[in-house]
Amino acid sequence: MRLLYAVLHMLVAIPGGVALIGGAVVTALVQIWANKVRSLLTVLGIIIAVTSIITVVSLTQGFGDYVTNFLRGLGTNMMVCYPEWIRGPRGEFLRPAELSITDIQSVDTHADAVRRTSPVVFHNSTVEYGRRQLTGINLRGTNELFQPIRNYYVDLGRFYGPVDVENAAQVCVLGREVLRKLECDESLVGDYIHIDSQRFQVIGLLEAKGSFMGENQDQVICVPWTTALKMYPEQRDYLAFFVEAAAEDKIPRAEGQLVRILRQRHGLKPGQANDFGLFKQDQILQEFHKIRTIATSVLAGIVSISLLVGGIGIMNVMLVSVAERTREIGLRKSVGARRRDILMQFLTESVVLSTVGGAIGIVLGYGLAALASMHPSMTEVKVPGWSVALALGFSAGVGIFFGLMPALKAAIIHPIDALRHE
């Protein structure tokens, strides 16, 4: 209390209108401090609203950045084309459609919006080195263009070249997680490991990419696709390919050309469904946007309900405050307070009350956002300045809106009636 009075004195010393507003705010703070518990309970709704705004906004923002970063890491213009299973007349699966290597080459030569392609053979492989054995390692059989297409480069040693691909050489490039799990250091480059019992020379190490959505992206092994098909001939049915568009804005054009060429090559009649699928990055983005829309609407719901609750709480406590201080209002009027002075006094109090609630909410929101950023997929979480401004604006607005009625009620009290109030 002593401190508050010191602040009060200081503020009143500031000349002019600032002092007046400052004085009113300090008076309001003193009043709020005098009823700490009541004030806190009153602004609970506002605290919840503001905490939700800050947390949800910073989480969706942060998660958005995270997804965007991940997509950038995939190579911005990349698509994956994969065979779709062929269905019988009753919708039953007959057999997987086959994407042939000539399909891939045809797309590469005839689609001018496509810059690069690479076949890709997927397999879950077992890797052995010395006594260490790893299972479930993502093996990718690709051509030499994997690096630029996927924007994923070797940072030690070399990637396999066209000759390795042509000769189906037993060479491989390892992701950092594989290296870590094999308990090896970088001296493994040049050494030999076994992939599904075949001897491979490690010629390079891929740069670390980290994890996305809890999945480690570095648990990967790349080998020439020719080698992979030789080892796993049954994977021919699932042969897919990476397609890189010439530019980001050429993606739709590349997609159109690819679909046209493949349908033609597979002899599909109009009305027949594609026997291949396309995975594009904007699908991830769309998924994310869907999540964000849901989060935003849930947020809007929570915020409006808790602001309403908070506002009614403030209106209620202000009505109580006006009733409790009727005599004070009468006294103030008897020494010259105008209606607008009383109105401003109580309006200031309700706005200060709601803004204090807002400030508490901001602090809590920051705390929750900081807590969330400890999670590996939430490292990008930060509280945007506009969400703080929005939250403070909302709380001040609630203070004005719901404080107006009690303040008006106080302002129009007749001085003598107020002074006679018990």
């Binding site: 103030r332 010259g336 209606r339």
Partner: protein, 249 residues
């Protein structure tokens, strides 16, 4: 007309014309003032007396622009109060009139200094703190400025209230039984302050039921059942005032 008076200090500041006040309590009407007419000149020192319920407070509240009459007119410095807007009334209450209540009416949890500054905050007066300090030392509380009401005695509280009433140097001081809650010694000290204020040229109207308080004023107006039943100068009145009062009655 008072124009014949050559003394400027004797202009009429308060004039009541056939003033009525009727309270409605449920279906019952309480006639608190039944046609009061009187005038009070600048720098008069008036005691309003009368038995409890005779309408003293009602009249003083109307004089202080805290309440409005049911009928009749109240002219304050020649201005019909009924014609003033709400904000002009607030101005009158803030600048022209200083009101002292029987129950002090200080803001709780607020220092003496801040209580005295209060009227000045509404007129954005300058040097509020210094003026409040001056006011407090004038009523002998220069060493109690940071005390809050619950740390002050009744007499001290009333001094703070008087300092507050004087803060804006109003023309008129209205006090409703200012010594009613105080012992007689303390009451006399309060009256000493009023004497000094009166000597400075301010008009003072004090409601009291104590004869020794009234005896310190210069004019006594007695109410009974809402009517003026007596209006005369006291022994302390200067001759002119005594003459004035006796011709009026």
């Amino acid at each position: 007309m008072i124009a014949t008076n050559d003394n400027a200090a004797q202009q009429v500041v308060i004039q009541l014309v056939d003033l009525h006040k009727i309270y409605r309590v449920g279906t019952e009407l309480v006639h608190a003032l039944r046609g009061v007419s009187l005038s009070i000149r600048k720098n008069e020192y008036v005691a309003i007396m009368g038995p409890s319920g005779s309408g003293k407070s009602t009249m003083l509240n109307i004089l202080g622009c805290l309440d409005v009459p049911s009928d009749g007119a109240y002219l304050l410095a020649g201005q019909d109060v009924a014609k003033l807007s709400q904000s002009r009334l607030a101005r009158v209450r803030g600048r022209q009139i200083g009101f002292v209540f029987q129950s002090f009416e200080l803001l709780p949890r607020t220092t003496a200094l801040k209580n005295v500054e209060l009227p000045m905050t509404y007129t954005r007066a300058r040097h509020r703190r210094r003026r409040a300090l001056d006011g407090l030392s004038r009523v002998g509380l220069g060493d109690r400025i940071h005390h809050r009401p619950n740390q002050l005695s009744g007499g001290q509280k009333q001094r703070v209230a008087i300092a507050r009433a004087l803060a804006q140097q109003p023309d008129i001081i209205l006090a409703d039984e200012p010594t009613g809650n105080l012992d007689s010694v303390t009451g006399d000290e309060i009256m000493d302050i009023f004497d000094a204020v009166h000597a400075d040229g301010q008009t003072i109207i004090i409601v009291t039921h104590e004869d020794h308080i009234a005896a310190r004023c210069h004019r006594v107006i007695e109410l009974k059942d809402g009517n003026v039943v007596r209006d005369e100068a006291t022994g302390r009145a200067p001759d002119a005032a005594r003459r004035e009062a006796s011709t009026a009655s």
